[in-house]
Symmetry: none
Subunit: 137 residues, 4 copies
């Protein structure tokens, strides 16, 4: 699979929602395609309004650099090599919760971004989404 399909994206969203419920959290969850364009999005009832944009930016940031958003955030601190990279691309989000989606050949075919709780929970929910579709792509 070269680019994520809607069917696969929806399975990732379902798994992410399930994980969010297990954690007792309310999340905004976004999936982008290989071109970093929005493919699917859901906001769970009661999830933060401000997390709509953050979830989408996390998904896009993860695909922009084929890297988990939290990894970029480690490099963009004051004194770090990528300080203030967040000013590019109309605004990046570089804390955890965004993960690239790779097919079985290791090629990036999209990204998932989650926002609505602690960054640890955001990351866990994103990971649940990615893992649920691993065997399908």
């Amino acid at each position: 699979m070269n680019d994520i399909t809607l069917s696969v994206a929806q399975k990732a969203l379902e798994a992410a929602i399930k994980k969010a419920e297990e954690l007792g959290t309310k999340m905004d969850i976004a999936i982008v395609d290989a071109g970093a364009n929005l493919k699917a999005f859901v906001r769970m009832d009661g999830a933060w309004l401000g997390s709509i944009d953050i979830a989408i930016r996390k998904a896009r940031t993860a695909r922009f650099f084929d890297m988990e958003t939290g990894e970029i955030g480690k490099l963009s601190q004051p004194g770090g090599p990528l300080y203030h990279i967040e000013h590019s691309n109309g605004g990046l989000i570089t804390f955890p919760g965004g993960i690239p989606i790779r097919n079985s050949q290791g090629e990036v075919i999209g990204g998932i971004g989650v926002s609505g709780s602690t960054v640890e929970n955001d990351h866990a929910v994103a990971l649940a989404g990615v893992e649920a579709i691993r065997s399908l792509i």
Copy 2:
């Protein structure tokens, strides 16, 4: 129901996708809540990339003015009373495909926006989404 739930939004999306498939079209479909904030979004495989933004703007425009987007477009023509209203709110889309979602008391609790084909098809798919959830809200 004062505000659309994710469960209801997903039913609207399913019905809209079904209608889009019946029409042989590929659509971007967005649903916003009572606050005009994105609730759910899907892009069917092969649907136009440029319609991501248009579908979301149609849904928001419909909720912004509690009116079908095509009705606003009739008023925004040269010489019309709302000429160039599209410049407001960061950019409106005022051709058909956006419909407010009303509960059984007639209160607007969200909006749906569809883009990806002719404006007639866009409107038909949005309408299918709205009608599918009428009895639930």
Copy 3:
């Protein structure tokens, strides 16, 4: 070929520049990939500064809707079905000069946008770019 390569994009740019020179014009020429992301760009010496942005937007607009930009412009006039579609996607350009790039299976794998002269010349230069790579993709 699912997505345009740099090698192919450069061949399209060369052919477009050659055509621009034959016409005695100075052009800005942009190529985007299947995801509507910039792949390659050149500004001929003396070409308009304002056409940098227009060339890029034409290429993106053509890929956004898999359609020549001039076709969209016919539909976006006052009274037309897509009136003011230009307000979407951060600003579209809907006059001629943008053409989608299709592979031998008819799939869109990118877009070319040209700006710097009359729209007729812009279109002719874009077309020269597309035709030069037809046998390669």
Copy 4:
């Protein structure tokens, strides 16, 4: 030469691509003219999508201040004299990878920006581009 020509810009791009290949990296490479306006751009196959914008901003930032981007970054840290200068000009990038292009009289006639790997590699590729055209301008 008062302003970089397309011919010279293309030679810089070729040399930069060659260096990127030697380093085993995939880069986005942008060149701006004396007016800080985009002159030429290439994205190598597989290079990061998020680096399109960063490469262009690095090239512009280098020309905006006639200084290597990394030098500005040293001054923009918390407590530094140019703290948060990145907020100006619609967003600057101030880590290494952007270098002003000077003619034989030492006048700045453009800038190059490279993004796609470590900042050390980005800088090395930008430098290779600048050095390749030194005798021509």
